[in-house]
């Protein structure tokens, strides 16, 4: 594959409520962060891909709000609706197509401006399902129930994911919820939908992220330290929850297989140094690890308990604190990518994984992880 690198990343702090910022203010902050990081000005950007969602932003054509702040004025621009990792993938195709040498990708959302339960209820089929009133939390709780039933994973093991990620967030100044908690704290927090307690669920937050892609010949022109895109793929499962085997993620398995093959990875568990996964709920971090072949089916819970996925473990997962510690819905996938770029550059400061050379990031669209996007990033030695 022609080589494309990520040479700039910029992120806002993830907060419960950015009351003083409009969408444009958030995007402007992230875009300028990415431009400074890459040592570029807006004129060096050939084209822009913004990522947003009309429902979450409460605005038809939600990309119109952030056009000016992303510097689209005299540029080619497009807008992806869905998670930022999918926006970055479309940005990658525009960089590989030969039309553009550099691509700025932004992704933003504000959970504080709307009611997430109603926004996600609108993802259900209006004819057969919506009227019964499910939303993302109740749907994913049903998934967790099926996963616990099939794999004998325990609620304590789910809680351990929350303890790990909130703990990691103490070393990430951008995270929203750094917390020192125990398994018992999680199990005694409010039960929202069996089997998910409040601390099993990620918050819905405000935040924005921007990255800059550059083709191989454009990279030397800027001072941003390149992290290379070695493999990327995406795939969707069936839509109706009843059509799917909820406790498994076949579409993630296919996306991961293809991304690893592109990157020449044969033994993912050993060849990957750090992972930023889409932990919208505690059971999902375990499910995604198993579906990607990073550990055996049904064993993620026990491997977590003997510390394999902690910062000093065999395969550190979500050293940034993950979604559980801060979840701006549309930006979450792009933030995972940006975190891996920081890790591979050795710029993750307190949550740095020593000599990480190759990492993976994951974005998710739809209910209960229907559609997955897997990125493999690497650093030239």
């Amino acid at each position: 594959m022609d080589r494309v690198a990520i040479i700039g990343v910029g992120m806002t702090r993830i907060e419960a409520n950015k009351i003083t910022d409009t969408f444009a203010d958030m995007v402007w902050e992230a875009v300028n962060g990415a431009l400074d990081d890459a040592g570029m000005t807006i004129e060096d950007v050939d084209n822009v891909v913004t990522t947003s969602n009309d429902f979450w932003d409460g605005r038809t054509i939600s990309c119109m709000a952030v056009g000016d702040a992303s510097g689209v004025r005299d540029k080619n621009v497009s807008c992806v609706e869905g998670d930022g990792a999918f926006g970055a993938l479309y940005g990658l195709t525009r960089t590989l197509s030969g039309s553009y040498g550099t691509t700025l990708v932004t992704a933003h959302s504000k959970g504080s401006e709307s009611v997430s339960s109603l926004i996600t209820n609108a993802a259900f089929d209006p004819i057969y399902e919506r009227v019964i009133g499910m939303d993302m939390i109740s749907a994913c709780a049903m998934q967790a129930m099926a996963y616990l039933d099939r794999t004998e994973t325990t609620s304590e093991q789910l809680a351990a994911v929350s303890v790990k990620n909130h703990g990691n967030a103490r070393y990430n100044p951008l995270a929203q919820l750094p917390m020192e908690i125990t398994v018992d704290d999680v199990l005694s927090s409010e039960m929202i939908c069996d089997p998910l307690h409040k601390l099993d669920c990620s918050p819905v937050s405000d935040g924005c992220c921007a990255i800059i892609l550059a083709s191989e010949e454009r990279v030397p022109r800027y001072r941003g330290k390149p992290v290379w895109i070695e493999g990327v793929s995406f795939c969707s499962d069936s839509y109706f929850l009843g059509d799917r085997e909820l406790s498994t993620a076949p579409s993630l398995t296919r996306a991961a297989e293809r991304a690893f093959a592109m990157a020449g990875i044969t033994d993912p568990g050993a060849e990957i140094d750090v992972a930023e996964l889409y932990d919208a709920f505690t059971h999902q971090e375990l499910m995604w690890l198993e579906a990607m072949g990073l550990c055996e089916d049904g064993k993620a819970g026990s491997r977590l308990e003997n510390g394999e996925f902690h910062m000093d473990g065999r395969l550190p997962v979500n050293p940034s604190g993950g979604l559980l510690s801060g979840h701006p819905v549309i930006a979450a996938g792009l933030i995972r990518i940006a975190e891996i770029v920081k890790q591979l550059r050795g710029e993750a400061a307190e949550h740095q994984i020593p000599n990480a050379r190759r990492g993976i990031a994951q974005g998710v669209n739809g209910l209960c992880g229907q559609s997955h996007c897997v990125w493999v990033l690497g650093k030239d030695d």
Binding site: T60, M64, G67, L96
Partner: protein, 390 residues
């Protein structure tokens, strides 16, 4: 994989109607997808990725890419959603082009759809504008466009008859397009007699509300010629989202169209668009756009658009036919409309546009309009471009 040249090898459309109570959204999408697959003689399993789009608030369905898989064929396949308001259809065409040109996907299925009958479109469009500044004052697309027409008339002395002439041309063309929704001719007098919606725009000057879907299959140079006899090669794409606030727009000129078309002409060396382009499928949601925006496309000097249209140059037997399909005034399922322009241009290039075929087409232009006076432009060609466009 180096960057690849890309061609449209198959297109499919539904028979667009004001309402389709016989199908739900996924089934409407499936109709267009099945006919595109048939047109290219491909099975869904030969498709490597899917790009889909619509305007969310017209159907009130979140995460349409995920919801659509039963109809779009996205089960266990890569599927992604692009949406940019009115230009969604052309954004999808440009998106499909880049996905194939990147070399990551050899055959991509592109789907634009809308069921306008399922919502209150004005209510949904109003939320497009800034909630703090524009939305309280503004109501619906028509008044914005009317302000543009008014400014143009004030600046260049155009009249309501000029707009009506464009509507008459397109409604006549639509009679030979089986997919179009409104297939009945109208006269200038009928347009001027129809109710005034927002000065100077009458009811027959504007597009209808439509339920419809369109699907296009793009393939890379490695297999395009094997799949279809006369592939429609994508020579260049460009777009601009110049403004975000209604007040900023340069009323009477469409700057985004001027910039985007100039970029394309420079890239491929077009110096005389009127001579070098054989047919245009212009995304023109209301008649006055047909006299104004052709100036921004470089077909007539500023203020002389109406003259060019009255000269008959843009009629079916003119030097540069515009909207042989009947265009947007005859049919507007918004999320699909920009992609319908792209599909119709492909049919013209491939010589398969039946009664609405323009003779010997070498180059065709398809455009998209929407958002806050945004424009997309795609150049289609019969000849294969030399090296991948840079």
């Amino acid at each position: 994989m180096a960057s690849k040249r890309v061609a449209i090898v198959g297109t499919g459309q539904t028979y667009h109607k004001s309402r389709r109570p016989d199908v739900n959204g996924q089934e409407l999408i499936n109709e267009a997808v099945q006919s595109a697959l048939q047109d290219a003689d491909l099975g869904i399993d030969q498709i490597d990725a899917i790009v889909i789009g619509n305007m969310d608030h017209f159907e009130g369905i979140n995460y349409v890419d995920c919801w659509s898989v039963d109809g779009s064929g996205g089960v266990m396949k890569p599927i992604i959603k692009l949406t940019t308001g009115g230009t969604t259809g052309s954004t999808l065409g440009i998106g499909g082009y880049h996905m194939v040109a990147s070399g990551m996907f050899e055959k991509v299925l592109i789907i634009g759809w809308e069921k306008n009958s399922e919502s209150d479109t004005t209510g949904a469009i109003t939320t497009a504008f800034d909630a703090i500044w524009d939305r309280l004052v503004f109501a619906g697309a028509i008044s914005g466009l009317a302000a543009e027409a008014q400014a143009y008339m004030a600046r260049y002395g155009a009249t309501e008859r000029d707009g009506a002439r464009v509507a008459v041309r397109d409604r006549k063309n639509a009679c030979s397009n089986p997919y179009a929704q409104l297939r009945k001719e109208i006269t200038v007098e009928e347009v001027l007699a129809s109710p005034m919606l927002s000065d100077p725009v009458h009811l027959l000057d504007v597009c209808p509300r439509t339920d419809g879907a369109c699907a296009v299959i793009m393939a890379s140079e490695d297999c395009a010629e094997k799949i279809c006899g006369v592939p429609d090669w994508i020579w260049a794409t460009a777009n601009r989202h110049t403004y975000s606030y209604l007040g900023d727009a340069n009323y009477g000129r469409l700057d985004s169209m001027a910039d985007a078309s100039r970029e394309i002409y420079a890239k491929v060396g077009i110096t005389e668009p009127k001579k070098q382009i054989d047919v245009i499928e212009l995304y023109q949601p209301y008649s006055f756009a047909g006299i104004m925006w052709i100036e921004d496309l470089g077909l007539a000097p500023h203020g002389k658009g109406a003259e060019y249209v009255w000269s008959g140059a843009t009629d079916m037997d003119g030097e540069l036919p515009i909207n042989p399909s009947g265009g947007v005034i005859a049919c507007n399922p918004i999320g699909a409309t920009g992609l319908i322009r792209c599909a119709e241009a492909a049919l013209q290039i491939a010589g398969r546009a039946e009664q609405r075929q323009v003779p010997d087409v070498d180059f065709a232009l398809s455009t998209g309009f929407g958002g806050c006076f945004w424009s997309d432009v795609i150049l289609h060609g019969k000849r294969k471009p030399e090296a991948p466009r840079k």
